[in-house]
């Protein structure tokens, strides 16, 4: 099983319950299903709102899978593990 490292960027805005939930959900899923093969970057748009414009972020939280291409976006607090996995197609790639 040669799986590439995934680069995941999670956009949040401050310490809101949804943001905190999304961060912990993402960390847990990644650790369970692809330990060691992921990089998570959390960007707080409240600190750096220009990035919202640059990356065209509307909803919070938004998870962007930058690598591997194609880029994919998931919005929400990632509370449904199955769906997150399907959406990221973590199992196939």
């Amino acid at each position: 099983m040669q799986q590439k490292t995934k680069k995941l960027v999670l956009y949040v805005a401050g310490q809101t319950p949804k943001s905190l939930a999304a961060i912990s959900n993402l960390r847990r899923i990644c650790e369970e299903h692809m330990p060691g093969r992921y990089v998570i970057e959390v960007i707080d748009l409240r600190q750096n709102p220009k990035l919202a414009r640059e990356h065209n972020i509307i909803a919070i939280p938004t998870l962007v899978r930058e690598l591997p291409v194609p880029m994919r976006k998931i919005i929400g607090d990632l509370s449904d593990e199955e769906k997150v996995l399907v959406s990221l197609r973590l199992g196939e790639e």
């Binding site: 919202a52 509307i58 909803a59 880029m71 976006k73 998931i74 919005i75 929400g76 607090d77």
Partner: protein
Amino acid sequence: MSAVGISKSPTGIGGFDDLTLGGVPTGRPTLVCGSAGCGKTLFASTFLIHGARQFDEPGVFVTFEERPTDIVANVASLGFELDTLIAEDKITIEHILVDPIELAEIGEYDLEGLFLRLELAIDAIGAKRVVLDTIESLFSAFNNPAILRAEIRRLFDWLKDKGMTTVITAERGDGSLTRQGLEEYVSDCVILLDHRVNSQVSTRRMRIVKYRGTAHGTNEYPFLIDEDGFSVLPVSSLALDHKVHEDIITSGVPDLDAMIATGGFYRGTSILISGVAGAGKSSLAASFANSGCAGGERVLYFSFEESSAQTVRNMRSIGINLQPWLDADRLRHIAARPTFYSLEMHLAVMLREISRFDPSLVVLDPISALLGSGDQQEVQAMLLRIVDFLKNRGATAVFTHLAHSQEGAVATDAGMSSLMDAWILMLNREVNGEFNRELYLLKARGAAHSNQVREFVMHSDGIRLLPPFLGQGRALTGSARRAEEARVRREEIIRTKEVGRLRLAANERRRVALARIEQLNAEIEASEHELHLMEDAETEYLRQSGRDLKEMEASRRA
């Protein structure tokens, strides 16, 4: 009347600010809804651009549909240099691209990203105005309407808290103002734009559905999108409080002016010239225009039947030369077929031209042509607006109206005779096999006027009104008048001749008598002479005979 407690931000849209007594509510959201292509985006961008340029209120244009370059290009055709304003940091376009395909939704989320971007844009230029065009696009991007609604409500509240004067555009939905029921969230001001096609003629209309805390007109108002941008028609004033003028304008027909005690018509009044075909309505109207121009006034002539060149040519035949006035731009002639626009468009175009040219005399020739483009009520409403509009400006209005019948022609088709201050009725009556034009001054408010029917005669040197010939117990016109005049002339000649003859005869008799006196005198003289001679002879005889007697006596004695 003025809105206490509500301050308003002018939109710079002609007419709209008058209608709402100041503009949209400051620091509050205004919803502009309407179907596709009815001018929502233009309304919004005009609001923003005027704000940035005229009122020093920078603005953020949030577009969910069109790209920024398209928006700049769209309004460039209207003379709005949006790119300059963007370069000067007076306007920012924030493009919120929604692409539903690459999104998956898992769990709870909010639109904080949108808020952050908006805040960034607002703070960057110190914006006071915001446009959201069209926020409903979000509904196609996100699947959870409950979240969206909550977020949109939060967005509006947030904008309100920030004191942003906001215009939100939305598509018209079936049976509701907007597809997603946004009107529920915007409680301050809702404007509905409409684009209707009636008898193949399209009309744009605007209505203020609600405007909390302020008086506003509730009617539908036509609006215009043209090279000048978005303009709502100036409203008919609710009050009759226009300025009254005392000075007099002339009709260009001295005979007509002389029929009124004041020597002409009051400035700023509405004058109706009605009559059947060929009665000379346009000619009289042109005479008004001509005399106005000659008096240094600016005259606007709307013709719905004749082109400018045609009018000039036709009027030259009665000694009215309009060309110099046209060349000097003192007279402007605007010709448009009634079917070219809808009624509202006509009105809009007319009002705009009047505002631009600022004439003191306006001619509409003929208003009856407009009856084809709308029902009577609409035409009447439109004329009322024009009349009010012109009165407010103190401009004199001359309307011609084609009547189809002149028997009892004291009611016009459009039923607007009561709107008019003066009414000139023109008749074309058949008497003894010929038609003669007649003119009657039916009413002239505020001035005593002649009650006579005058004969209206057009010559190559102008228009004259002949006083009627009163003969045989009635007023005569045309040939009948000329025949009567000739008969009277003939009688007069015969009478004069008779008098001459009698005078001649009397003189003759006198001369004869004098001659006879002369002759008798001569006879008397001759007789006296003869008598004298006889007396002399007698005296001589007596003396001789005496002497003879003495001689005889002497001889006998001797």
